[in-house]
Subunit: 119 residues, 2 copies
DNA sequence: ACACCGCTTTCACACGCCCTTCACCGCCGG
DNA sequence: CCGGCGGTGAAGGGCGTGTGAAAGCGGTGT
């Protein structure tokens, strides 16, 4: 890679991920993510628009081979979704491809719910 | 980086199928297909322009011999047609050859679904 | 050493998608 | 009119995924 000293910045709609700075920004506001959550996010964001299998995700994020039956990836996808939705309710980022894995890309959320706007 | 060496890409009009990535794109937008739907689409797309018998399709997509009377292929052709038409209403991809099987190729649909300055 | 605390992993269960099969339809040729 | 063929919708069951909570692990401060 020749891009050299350029800080890698991954953008997806209102979301910005900066692997080098260990930071993720939603509309400019920083998200609070654990290390593992961050690794999973980066793995997904770097393969934006493509379908990633769980095993591949595990190897990239955990640096180890996934044991059959391990649900860790699912759990962290869930945690990430929760935080992303809390920060950007109208957007969906992690999409399930049943039988294959997950795909990352920013898409407007299907239905939208607003916490306490309604009353 | 990642060399996209074997990246097989099948194109038919506005449709793009990428077997290696478990992805199908309609005008660049990803389709959500189940595993079986995907397999059938790939089988058809790889034999583009040729007529495929149901038995042959079944063996290629299911990896097994088709039992006489099995309608699975018909059902999945139907499911695929539905999703393809939803994504690309003006195109027809899967064509029936009565007594033989199906043929895949992109052709403009002769019926019309979009009211506009048409015709 | 102990208590506290956040993070990770595992577990159990709920739920929804998916695959298969079946029934019924209309069409066409004999 | 009857039988073969393909289109289509729906039911049943299986299993892949979503999800909350408990258990395990390390680190930090007192």
């Amino acid at each position: 890679m020749e891009a050299a000293r350029n800080a890698e910045i991954l953008r997806a709609g209102p979301l910005e991920v900066r692997p080098d700075e260990h930071m993720a920004l939603a509309d400019g506001r920083p998200l609070t993510l654990s290390r593992r959550e961050f690794d999973v996010l980066i793995v997904l964001a770097r393969r934006m628009g493509r379908v990633l299998g769980r095993e591949q995700m595990f190897e990239l994020a955990w640096g180890d081979r996934m044991r059959p039956g391990d649900r860790s990836v699912d759990v962290y996808v869930h945690k990430l979704r929760a935080k992303l939705e809390a920060a950007l309710p109208q957007w969906a980022f992690i999409h399930t491809h049943v039988g294959f894995g997950y795909r990352f890309s920013s898409e407007p959320s299907h239905g939208f719910h607003i916490p306490s706007t309604n009353r």
